[in-house]
Subunit: 357 residues, 2 copies
């Protein structure tokens, strides 16, 4: 198989972890006789520093021309603490999602048995959890009109949804539910929000096309609670952009750490694969970040973008083997982990490559 | 002390639990020689059935005339599954918050040692947690303009904040932080939302008036994650209406159950005290609901509305004593609880009264 892959490391630890996602793809190509050609581009804070824009035209062109994109992370504290900054790293990520039509963000909460103890949740609460989130990614309050009064006394963001936006992601989620346990939970705040009432209306309609899938509707506040109380009760979770942002970060604690979670953003064209963690500037450049989310993002790319299920499985297995052998990065180590088994980013990445080969 | 208290049981289990909050207030009055006069009013589904309106004028008048309000719960599945319903129970709650100017919703996450094991979180993660949430309650996407296109293909909700709305709740939160551990975490999504950037701007400004309080700003997705990962790191948490709704429900798992958490909504006039749990129609009328959140709401009323700290402490102690003696409702029982110690709503309420007398 011949594929063009664009690597966008982005900001902070994005740089360090993405190199391991890429090496995994190279190793897979060598092992299975595929030809993956790599190109690289900049985005976020890194791109602002170099060009003034968080998403340079060149990056967008390369992105559109590629078969799949492996992305790192975005953001920088400099902008976070300056509420009046006009140009911000995150604009690059939001714009590429919009421009590539990446309306469906898949976030599987994959629980490795070896990490049952790494979570703050009790093992018996976690065991058996397997959730697949479908987060809508190009609508909601993220993209509606924003205003700020000249005298700085008022600000607004428009939360909005079009019927077709809900329909297309709902169909994707129902299709996935069919291949899993035929259970779907749609999360909204229909007791308060008009957009949620439209959302629920559309989901109820699409649900009729999938009578074999059991549908549940849940309010976001309740879902945020149930996810901690009894994560096993969820299977496919379908939700809007903002609620999905919050719920999936929360759910990362099920997997033990944000450093374990990969995501796939798909839509009409090129797919976009990235860890759900952020740029974590506090540990950037210190060889401390967990590269597994980037490696698992590469696995998602193989599976979803290229249809290489076998290769994807082998990568995931290499991660499982690494964990089974007791290797940990700091974020997934616990009091019982021998210090000799706590590895840096590069050592952990190299271990996975060993098991992969 | 002479006070007029309005009881609004509301919907579902609201009826059953509020009777115990009220009896606790009566017992306190008898014990300490106060005169509490009670009146009752309807709201929510119950009020829609009786009058067509979720907040009848008579209820609002009684509310304004009272010194404090003890509320139960609101909502009914009938409306949840009908996205096109024009009149909804929740409108009653939202309207009374707005009409009474209840802009600050205080939600203390009180952890009773006896319930460490009731949570899905590990006891060592929980131990020592003590969080006080300040949720803004009369702004945000809850109250901004809502639209729905005639052809039902588009819906919107305006998320908005005025500077003064952020200022007044921020001051309340900083004042509280001063009396506690001088730590405040403000939660927003300033990397995406203009309202959050205004929010952060204002909080940074107010923070300068409280140089003795350490301020942290955190994104909502990260906060939803940290709250599960390491709840102990939070002390006073200040956030907007929607984010507060989500975070406090999530945080209820720290206390073991939603059935344990009370809240106080305060502002310019009469204070409003209510459990954070909902109407739970699935268990309504079955003597299964946990009355402790209503009883602890009564304690908050004594403390915050009437300044009766001693009386409030005695009520909280009666709850602690009940738990220490091993008494549990179903929601806070676990595998080790002897069946003989799992009580119904009324038996649990009666136990607290015993310890209180
Ligand atoms: C960086 C930020 C804009 C982004 C989001 O909120 O979508 C991130 O939190 C994510 O979840 O991918
Ligand atoms: C019932 C609902 C409107 C309400 C809210 O979202 O504010 C409830 O969830 C709460 O937290 O008090």
């Amino acid at each position: 198989m011949n594929k063009n892959i664009l690597i966008i490391p982005g900001d902070g630890i994005g740089q360090e972890v993405t190199t391991w996602g890429k090496q995994v793809l190279e190793t897979v190509a060598a092992k299975y006789g595929h030809e993956f050609r790599f190109d690289e581009a900049i985005m976020g804070h890194t791109a602002i520093e170099a060009t003034g824009s968080p998403l340079p035209d060149e990056t967008l062109e390369k992105a559109k021309a590629s078969d799949a994109i492996l992305f790192g992370a975005i953001g920088h504290a400099k902008y976070d603490n300056d509420p009046s900054a006009k140009v911000r790293p995150e604009q690059g990520l939001l714009k590429i999602r919009k421009e590539l039509g990446l309306y469906a963000n898949l976030r599987p909460i994959l629980l490795f048995d070896e990490l049952l103890e790494a979570s703050s949740l009790k093992p018996e609460v976690l065991r058996g959890t397997d959730i697949l989130f479908f987060r809508e990614l190009t609508g909601d309050v993220y993209f509606g009109e924003k205003t700020r009064s000249e005298d700085n006394t008022f600000a607004s963001d428009l939360m909005n949804y079009h019927r077709y936006e809900v329909e297309r992601i709902a169909r994707k989620a129902y299709e996935a539910a069919r291949t899993r346990n035929k259970k779907l939970c749609s999360v909204d705040k229909a007791n308060v929000l008009e957009t949620s009432r439209l959302w629920r209306d559309v989901v109820q309609e699409i649900a009729r096309e999938y009578p074999d899938v059991e549908t549940e509707h849940m309010f976001i506040d309740n879902a945020a609670m149930q996810l901690v109380k009894n994560p096993k009760k969820f299977d496919v979770v379908l939700t809007a952009n903002l609620f999905g942002d919050i719920l999936t970060d929360e759910a990362s604690q099920i997997a033990g750490s944000m450093g374990m979670l990969a995501s796939a953003s798909i839509g009409d064209g090129t797919g976009f694969f990235e860890p759900i963690h952020g740029s974590a500037h506090d540990i950037a450049g210190q060889n401390k970040a967990n590269p597994l989310a980037s490696i698992l993002s590469a696995a998602l790319m193989l599976d979803i973008a290229f249809g290489l299920q076998e290769e994807a499985k082998v990568v995931t297995q290499a991660v499982a083997d690494t964990l089974k052998a007791g290797w940990r990065t700091g974020d997934i180590a616990n009091a019982e982990t021998p210090l000799t088994h706590v590895l840096g980013t590069n050592e952990m990445g190299a271990k996975v490559l060993e098991y992969l080969r």
